[in-house]
C-alpha cells in the first residue's frame, strides 16, 4: 500500500473508506451492525457535518476514528497513515493531532481538577520541554481566546454554567493545535441563548487555526450554520453526502427531505401549513435491519427494487446519494 506524502496540496485531511463497526450482543452469534461501509473525505480546513437520528451510528463513527471503540473493517487515512491501524506508542503520539469536544461539557471535565490543570494537562503530556511559566502563558492566552478570564483559572468545573464549561472543553481540545477536531454534539446540551455563542466561537477558532472538523449533530440548523459539507446517516449507512447549499436547497434522498421537513419552524404560518408528520414509524432495530435499502420501511417512495438491492452511493446533481429512485424524485 502506498502512503501519500503528508501535507500534499489536494490530499484530504481525512479519508475514511468502508468503515464498519459491529458490536457483539448477548446471545449466540448476534451482532449489532452500528456502522456499515461508510466512506467519506474531509478536505483540509473544512467542516464535515455528520447528521442522523439516534441509532444512526454517528457517534460510533467518531468513537471509531478516535480509537475509543474498535473498527471491524475499513481505513482512515490521516497524516499519511491509517489511523485505524495504529497501535501503542505510535497511536499515543498521533493523539496530539486529533482531539474531541463532547456533548456534555460538565461530564467531560474531571471534577477534581481546576480549570488551569485541565487546560494544562495536554501540554504536560505532549510538550514536556515547556517550563511552568511557558505553560502558564499558553494557558492564559487560550483562556482569553475562548472567552474566559484568568480569574477562572483556579475554579473547578462545577462552578461553571454549561456554556462556560464547554469553553473550557474547547480550550483543552485546542491547546495542542490539533489538525483534526471531532465535535460530538458540541452545542446540543446548551441553552438556546448560549448555543449561538458557542457555535460562533467554534467557527472563529476553526478559521483562525485552520482546523479540519468532523461535526456530529442531530440538529440540522446547527449543521447548516457550521458545516461546509454534510453526510446524512441512517441505521449505520450513508444516505447522502452533499455540499451545504445542495443539501438544504435540493436534497436528493427521501430521508434527507423528510428530516428537513420534520424540523419545527419558528414561523407559525408556515408551520400550520404542514399538518402531518413527514415520516411514520421509527428507526428499525439495528439487530434486524431491513434488506436492501435500510430506509425503505419508512420511505414513501419505496418500490420492489428497494427491498432487493442495497443502493450504492452515486452522484446525482451535486450530491452523492444512495437511493434507487433519486432521479425519478427530481
Amino acid at each position: 500500500m502506498s502512503v501519500p506524502p503528508d501535507g500534499m496540496a489536494g490530499t484530504p485531511a481525512l479519508a475514511v473508506s468502508d468503515l464498519a463497526v459491529r458490536f457483539a450482543v448477548s446471545g449466540p452469534k448476534r451482532w449489532l451492525q452500528a456502522v456499515d461501509g461508510v466512506s467519506f473525505t474531509v478536505e483540509r480546513g473544512q467542516t464535515l457535518g455528520v447528521v442522523g437520528e439516534s441509532g444512526s451510528g454517528k457517534s460510533t463513527i467518531a468513537r471509531a476514528l478516535l480509537r475509543l471503540v474498535p473498527a471491524t473493517a475499513g481505513t482512515a487515512r490521516f497524516r499519511g497513515v491509517d489511523l485505524l491501524a495504529l497501535e501503542g506508542p505510535t497511536l499515543r503520539a498521533m493523539r496530539e493531532h486529533f482531539q474531541i469536544i463532547f456533548q456534555d461539557p460538565l461530564a467531560s471535565l474531571d471534577p477534581r481538577m481546576s480549570v488551569a490543570e485541565i487546560i494544562e494537562e495536554p501540554l504536560r503530556e505532549f510538550r514536556p520541554a515547556l517550563d511552568r511559566a511557558a505553560r502558564r502563558g499558553k494557558v492564559l492566552a487560550m483562556l482569553d481566546r475562548v472567552g474566559l478570564a484568568s480569574a477562572h483559572l483556579n475554579r473547578f468545573p462545577h462552578e461553571f454554567s454549561g456554556g462556560q464549561a464547554q469553553r473550557i472543553g474547547i480550550a483543552r481540545a485546542l491547546m495542542l493545535q490539533p489538525e483534526l477536531l471531532v465535535c460530538d454534539e458540541p452545542i446540543s446540551a446548551l441553552d438556546v441563548s448560549i448555543k449561538s455563542q458557542i457555535a460562533n466561537l467554534l467557527k472563529d477558532l476553526q478559521l483562525e487555526f485552520g482546523i479540519t472538523v468532523l461535526f456530529i449533530a442531530h440538529d440540522l440548523a446547527a449543521v447548516r450554520f457550521s458545516c461546509d459539507r454534510i453526510l446524512v446517516l441512517y441505521l449505520g449507512r450513508v444516505m447522502e453526502i452533499a455540499p451545504r447549499t445542495a443539501l438544504f436547497e435540493t436534497p436528493r434522498h427521501p430521508y434527507t427531505r423528510a428530516l428537513l421537513q420534520s424540523v419545527p419552524v419558528a414561523d407559525p404560518a408556515l408551520a400550520r401549513s404542514r399538518r402531518t408528520a413527514p415520516l411514520g414509524g421509527e428507526i428499525p432495530s439495528p439487530l434486524a435491519p431491513p434488506s436492501g435499502c435500510v430506509f425503505r420501511t419508512r420511505c414513501p417512495f419505496a418500490g420492489p427494487i428497494c427491498g432487493e438491492q442495497v443502493p450504492r452511493l452515486r452522484p446525482v446533481g451535486a450530491s452523492l446519494v444512495a437511493c434507487h429512485r433519486a432521479e425519478e424524485l427530481g
Binding site: A221, F225, P264, V265, A266, E282
Partner: protein
C-alpha cells in the same frame, strides 16, 4: 404598583376559564438565600386552548406547571392563587389535589420513563388511573385503554397491553404516556418538553398527535424550542427568570415581537432555508442565577436596549396591543440584535 401585586383582584375574571393563575410565586430557601423560581406569574387557560410557554433552563417554566399539580419539591414556598374551575388549589390539601391530579389535570414529561414503571406491563399502568379515580371494572378499563391506544395511533394495541416499557421505542413510550394522561378525560394536559428527548422525525409525529388531541383537553406545553410552539400553540408566554416577559397569540408574537429577549431568542434560530448569516446573532452573558437576581429587569445585563430605568424595578407586564402584553421599559423599535 406592579402588575403582579394588582393581579389577585382580577381572580373572578376567568369565570369561563378552566385555569386562572394570579400572582403566583414559588420560592425555595437555599444555602445562598431565597431562590425565586416563579416570580409573579398570571396565566389564563380557556377550554380547548393550546398554550405554549417558552423559556430556557431556570426560567421557571417547569416550576409553573408543577405548581398546578401541587408537585413542587418539599420546602417550596408558594404564594398567589391557582384556580381550577374556580376552585383554589394553592393551600388545598392532598385530598383535593389527589382527586384532581391525573383525573382532571394530567401531566406528561420529557422522559416518558419517569412516568412508567419498568416492572409492570403497559396494560396495568394504563388502566390504573381509571380504576383508582373512577372505580372502573377491569373489562371497562381495558376497553377504554384500547380506545386510547388507538387514539394515540399505537399499532397492535392488544399486543402492547402485555409488553413492558423497555420493549417499546422512545416515541412509542411517549404515546403510551399521553394515552395514560388522557384516560380519565382530564380537562387540562400539562406537557413539559414532551418532544425534547425524541428524534426529529418522531418529534414531528408527536406534535401532530398533540394537535389532534387538543379536542380532548386544553394543553399547556412548556419548551425551550420556539419552533415547537409555532407548530402547535394558539397563544404563548415567554418566561425569563421566573417572570412572564411577553404574551400574545402565536402569530402576533412572532410577527410583532415587542420584548428584546423574545427578539434575541428568535434571532438566534438558524433558518433551514434562505440567507445564512456569517455569524449567529447571540445573546451575550449567561442565563441569570435565580438565587441572585438583579433588582431591576432580570434581562437587563444581557439586553441590547438597556437604559438607566431598567435597573430601578422589574418592569410590569402591560398591554402593548389587544391581547399582547410585555414587560419592558424600552419603547423604541427593536432590530438591534445582530
Amino acid at each position: 404598583m406592579s402588575a403582579a401585586l394588582a393581579a389577585p383582584e382580577q381572580t373572578e375574571q376567568g369565570a369561563a376559564g378552566l385555569l386562572a393563575i394570579r400572582g403566583l410565586r414559588v420560592a425555595y430557601r437555599t444555602e445562598s438565600g431565597f431562590l425565586r423560581a416563579v416570580d409573579g406569574v398570571n396565566l389564563d387557560l380557556a377550554p380547548g386552548e393550546f398554550l405554549g410557554v417558552a423559556g430556557e433552563s431556570g426560567s421557571g417554566k417547569t416550576q409553573l406547571l408543577l405548581s398546578v399539580m401541587g408537585l413542587n419539591a418539599p420546602g417550596a414556598r408558594i404564594e398567589g392563587s391557582i384556580r381550577y374551575r374556580g376552585q383554589e388549589l394553592v393551600g388545598a390539601g392532598e385530598r383535593v389535589l389527589g382527586s384532581l391530579r391525573g383525573a382532571r389535570i394530567a401531566m406528561i414529561f420529557q422522559d416518558p420513563m419517569t412516568a412508567l414503571n419498568p416492572y409492570l406491563p403497559i396494560g396495568i399502568q394504563l388502566t390504573e388511573g381509571l380504576r383508582h379515580h373512577q372505580g372502573a371494572s377491569r373489562s371497562a378499563a381495558r376497553r377504554r385503554a384500547l380506545e386510547l391506544l388507538d387514539a394515540v395511533h399505537i399499532p397492535e394495541p392488544e399486543r402492547r397491553f402485555a409488553q413492558h416499557p423497555h420493549e417499546l421505542s422512545g416515541g412509542m413510550r411517549q404515546r403510551i404516556v399521553i394515552a395514560m394522561a388522557l384516560i380519565c378525560e382530564p380537562d387540562i394536559l400539562l406537557a413539559d418538553e414532551p418532544t425534547t428527548a425524541l428524534d426529529v422525525t418522531v418529534q414531528a409525529q408527536i406534535l401532530a398527535l398533540l394537535r389532534e388531541l387538543r379536542t380532548r383537553a386544553a394543553i399547556v406545553l412548556v419548551t425551550h424550542d420556539l419552533g415547537v410552539i409555532a407548530e402547535v400553540a394558539d397563544r404563548m408566554l415567554v418566561m425569563y427568570a421566573g417572570r412572564v416577559v411577553e404574551e400574545a397569540g402565536v402569530e402576533r408574537l412572532f410577527e410583532h415581537t415587542r420584548h428584546p429577549y423574545t427578539e434575541a431568542l428568535r434571532r438566534s434560530i438558524v433558518p433551514l432555508e434562505g440567507p445564512l448569516p456569517e455569524r449567529l446573532p447571540s445573546i451575550g452573558g449567561n442565563p441569570p442565577n435565580p438565587a441572585a437576581l438583579p433588582p431591576g429587569c432580570a434581562f437587563a445585563p444581557r439586553c441590547a436596549y438597556v437604559f438607566d430605568r431598567c435597573a430601578s424595578a422589574p418592569p410590569p407586564l402591560a398591554p402593548v396591543a389587544p391581547g399582547h402584553l410585555r414587560a419592558c421599559y424600552y419603547d423604541g423599535p427593536l432590530g438591534r440584535i445582530r
